[in-house]
Symmetry: C2
Subunit: 117 residues, 2 copies
């Protein structure tokens, strides 16, 4: 079930999708923000600041700031953990789910357009 892709195809796919993301006018996320967003939407909850920091190998303030930014964009939301009020649970949103879905469709579409390369 492994995906068969050649290096030149991989690069063209990577370039084209990034071009689309830049041109779509949506606030383009940094690599870190992208990794955080997709981790939240692909991995099993619950997600915490500390957990995300560990998975990404970055410090906690990086996560806090990324959540601030993506929260303003409506891509994620935060909620105190009622069982341990030190924790913050990061939650998905409708807008975030839609954005992730759009990204998936974009990658799929651009990969279909790849030639033999």
């Amino acid at each position: 079930m492994a995906l068969e892709i050649r290096p030149s195809q991989a690069l063209r796919l990577w370039r084209q999708v990034h071009l689309d993301l830049v041109q779509d006018g949506d606030a383009d996320l940094s690599a870190r923000q992208t990794a955080i967003l997709l981790t939240i939407y692909l991995e099993l909850p619950p997600h915490t600041v500390r957990g995300l920091a560990q998975q990404l190998g970055v410090t906690k303030p990086v996560i806090t700031r990324a959540l601030d930014t993506m929260g303003k964009l409506g891509l994620v939301s935060r909620k105190r953990d009622d069982f341990d009020r030190r924790n913050v649970i990061i939650q998905r949103t409708v807008a975030g789910a839609l954005a992730v879905e759009r990204l998936a469709d974009l990658i799929v579409q651009r990969s279909r357009e790849l030639g033999a390369g």
Copy 2:
């Protein structure tokens, strides 16, 4: 010759490669910088500031700044066009070619590890 990939696979690939890029410690490039870098290394030269700005749909200072940053990282270099000294020709470098090659290998490797998803 189209690449068969499902949305969930696309997202897992996107996430994993971004995780790798963040963790590799290399200065992670923005979406714009990535698009610029790959355009320089995939499209036929010569590349100019103006041409890149048009292809990306951004303003010229964005390109100038990105070239400053990537120049410091050794990923690209600049050279005056001797036939029209208003132009600046953006050139590839050995370090840049290596970085692009590493990115390609990373994508290929991670795509091989995808399950049926």
